[in-house]
Symmetry: C2
Subunit: 637 residues, 2 copies
Amino acid sequence: MNKVTFKFDNAPDVEAFANDGEKLLDVAKKANVVIDAPCSGNGSCGKCIVKVVKGTVESSQTRHMTETEYRNGFRLACNSKVTEDVTVKVPDIASAFKKKMKISDLSSPEEIKIFKNTQERIAAAGIKYENDFRIIELELAEPTIDDTMPDNERLSRAIQAESGCDKIKISYNIMRKLPQVLRESNWHVKVLISDVYDHIIVNDVIPSDQWLHVAGLAVDIGTTTVSAVIFDMMDGSFLARGAMGNGQIRYGADVINRIIEATKEGGSKRLKDAVLKETINPLIREMCASAGISRDFIYRMCVAGNTTMNHLFAGIYAEPIRMEPYIPEFFQTERLRAGDVGVAINPDAEIIMCPNIGSYVGGDITAGVLANTMWANPEMTLFVDLGTNGEIVFGNSDFLMSCACSAGPAFEGGDISCGMRAMDGAIESITIDEETLEPTYNVIGDPGEKPVGICGSGIIDIISELFRVGAINPKGKFIREGKRIRHDEDGMGSYVIAFQEESGTIKDVELNEVDIDNFIRAKGAIFSGIRTLLASLDFDVDMIDKLVVAGGIGSGINMANAINIGMFPKIPLEKYEYIGNSSLSGAYTALFSTEAEEKVYELGRSMTYIELSTTPGYMDEFVAACFLPHTDASLFA
Amino acid sequence: MNKVTFKFDNAPDVEAFANDGEKLLDVAKKANVVIDAPCSGNGSCGKCIVKVVKGTVESSQTRHMTETEYRNGFRLACNSKVTEDVTVKVPDIASAFKKKMKISDLSSPEEIKIFKNTQERIAAAGIKYENDFRIIELELAEPTIDDTMPDNERLSRAIQAESGCDKIKISYNIMRKLPQVLRESNWHVKVLISDVYDHIIVNDVIPSDQWLHVAGLAVDIGTTTVSAVIFDMMDGSFLARGAMGNGQIRYGADVINRIIEATKEGGSKRLKDAVLKETINPLIREMCASAGISRDFIYRMCVAGNTTMNHLFAGIYAEPIRMEPYIPEFFQTERLRAGDVGVAINPDAEIIMCPNIGSYVGGDITAGVLANTMWANPEMTLFVDLGTNGEIVFGNSDFLMSCACSAGPAFEGGDISCGMRAMDGAIESITIDEETLEPTYNVIGDPGEKPVGICGSGIIDIISELFRVGAINPKGKFIREGKRIRHDEDGMGSYVIAFQEESGTIKDVELNEVDIDNFIRAKGAIFSGIRTLLASLDFDVDMIDKLVVAGGIGSGINMANAINIGMFPKIPLEKYEYIGNSSLSGAYTALFSTEAEEKVYELGRSMTYIELSTTPGYMDEFVAACFLPHTDASLFA
């Protein structure tokens, strides 16, 4: 047996024993040492980096680290076998865990503002903020030998007397609890009902002296991150908010690889389990604990995800989505039932799926469009959702047209060596001194939070600033020298934003030329997508009245910088607006408001989808956009 | 280890090893020796009798055998511990197994006649023999890059074009199989649809070159026996017929003990499992194998059982049924879903429950009334269902009134030492020579089938004949001597119908005074029930136009003998009719015909229920009826 010592900055050492050849990541797991590994240890994400400070491990260098880093003892925990006693430094447990799952009972003021803004927009668009749930309190006549009506009829008649409706539906689960609830409560109960078409559904029956929470669960199933909010279906107030990496990431960072995996033997169940049992259900459990409610109090759910995520969540065969002619099983579907799908909420809860409109523009975008209300206004609005890939919608109250760009995961920190989502520890904005090249940055989190990585908005700033101060050329290669600019053995340049000792992690937080290149291709995909979509309608960027940005890129996004690097078109800054995670706020809206739910279905039916990859000229546009800011500099003059 | 040798009449010996103290019944189970034990070995039914022919077992005498029997080596297998090498004789495996589960691909001519008669009655009553299932064949347009409609919409539109209905519901299970079925079939499919109110439900989609069976499953859940039939929902023809002892019997022979058990910790699940997982599901499996169809082809089910059986089948808390004021959870319920309840058929299949009308008159009786069509005719009909207990309905097209009698399980052979259901090996009818007291009897089964027990109709005949020839007095005590009449040490008399060597079992087939006493109380309960029900309406037996008998008592029932022993009123024999298992034929009818389903719900709402136990005079009537034929002989003069 070999002894492994894990060292932290802010916590005592942890010691563990390892067999010869045992993987360091597995040893950490056994010892309850949390090492962030979004790909679950298959070597694809490069995030499980540790630093060997004593002894050695058997490990090869990977594309995720430079030769210098390797020489300095950095290793991927998933790629390292223990062969002798060894001491490794790992990022602080707490912050690593926070990255894994972030739960809050109330959102940050900023998030609350985003939801509030959505509510105001929706209200302004004429959508009523109300749903069909109602709580009624009933005092039933206790049965006697002369009044032997069965329990279900006794309840139905009382509801009928209260509501005037004579079609009352009591589910099998309610039937099973009814006799005991009625007798325990001395026939005095609270009943949660909802009106659906011509009948009333009984969603729950509880003793009248108990508190009945009526909660709704809105979930944005992102390819990279799953975000959710639990709220009160009666008044719309938040009960809990959470986010967690999508467990499917171990099967690939993009939807195509996930579909391929899902099509293999047993794959459909594996992918469904990864997002449901390993991600959504644990998240629900944590959020319910934080909100102090039972999961059975969640009576309805709304899901917004891209087309592939929607299919894999429901365990539906997705292979035809990736094969020409790219056909999903569904755009819109009937409400599903939580118990059937396996979501750990009230088993009778119905699941609303925000509709897909194409193979690569899904429910996250219809939800986003619902939330941004471009469908209600005459202004020409361009809506850009920056998640894994990016989707674009253009139009107004007369028409809506959409497309998807193959931008990859860079906006969410994927494919970027020090990239991360916009959460605690992420550098979200930065300026660089023209003379000294010294950075000044903001880190998300409590005051004094140390940087552990860079989120999308931070990357935009760094590239824009490096370009502005002349440190990099239009191709993203370093052309200035300085204390913070360095080159490795192969000549690859990088810029250090925070040296290890200034950071909250075990290595320097930096951006290298490969990162910059990845990001330039991502922003090029967005810009060329915008150009192609507008061109297909004979529109010019000047005709955009409003440009709305959404997604996990971070609220710190500096639109001027995004324009400077050629990601967004050069239009007046006041036309820009960042609206946060509109997929989630749209799902919340569709769930809370019955009219909004109808609206999102209508949007699904009325929006048009164009396939960029088969649109003439797109490829040329893309190649031209892979420069800073663009090969055609006049576009940004 | 001790060696146990099992000996049979018609099969080679089976040898097994047993630990000291191991129960003989458990040893038999391990050795795959089938010993009939309806109570699963708790000592309550007395049916697992074996004869020790070499060695001894540790066992005590029980109320289920006489001292002579005990002395002759008879033991209950459930009550015997192996302590040395022993050889035991057990009833023939095959017939024991037949008793346990009887499956046939087609019913006996007699059963077919019973179903045919039901069909004719129902048709004469003006009920249409049709349901809402329809098979349509669709050739869908294959998607192209210019026609990228998703699968579910493509299917819905095609159904809409065919049916004119634009509300198409596709279940979650169909969604999950749709993409593959459409592509494997080259877009040429058979679709099973049903019209429900204003929409169409898609029940299944399969490639058009595959055979689509549309089967229905009707189940009579008796307290003692579960009977079922699988049939073609398109033409009504039988695919399989089966029956099996209700696995709940180990928790008590009557509904009260079952409710008590179900109310204990975890009891609800135990009782549900016993009837569903251990009885109905295995029966379905066997019947599907016999019919050569997959269980997924069973698209709808109808259940008829008494109120308690209906509750326990669905796992619904039943305690209030047995406690004053005797309140069930439901009389009528929405259709349940097979997947929710756990029935091993197509998970989307809906379950129709024939409605209960009181705590002790349930869906088996509404189904029976549906089948006997007394509701459609002006003749005053008395309907008597002889199962475990007995239920009585009186009325015509103007009114229907019902009650339940506490008759116990004697009509199905329960509480009778050699009693059994009307199946192969049962003595179903008998005459006794006035001089010699020698019996002449018929045994159910193939020609030459040897008697193993006596079913209800046989018991009626024996008692009637013994009374007619003066062998027993009005109290059921033996008053003649003879070769076949004997008395045990305590003076208890019995009449041997078949000595062991003439029988198909290991001991004499006989009826003793305790059996006769049990049966007299059972018949007394029925007769007094009839009298009390009629009296409550100021009716006399003369006003009965028709007396319809149903139940597992056996088609061999001799009505004249039933009158002779004072079980039924003395009215002209041509007014009597036996209609078999009307609970099952009613369930079949309600399942096959949508109009009949509506009718059975209407019957549930319109029938009246009176509680005999609280009806003045009933107890006096009962006591008076516990004689042969009655204390008031003028009633049978």
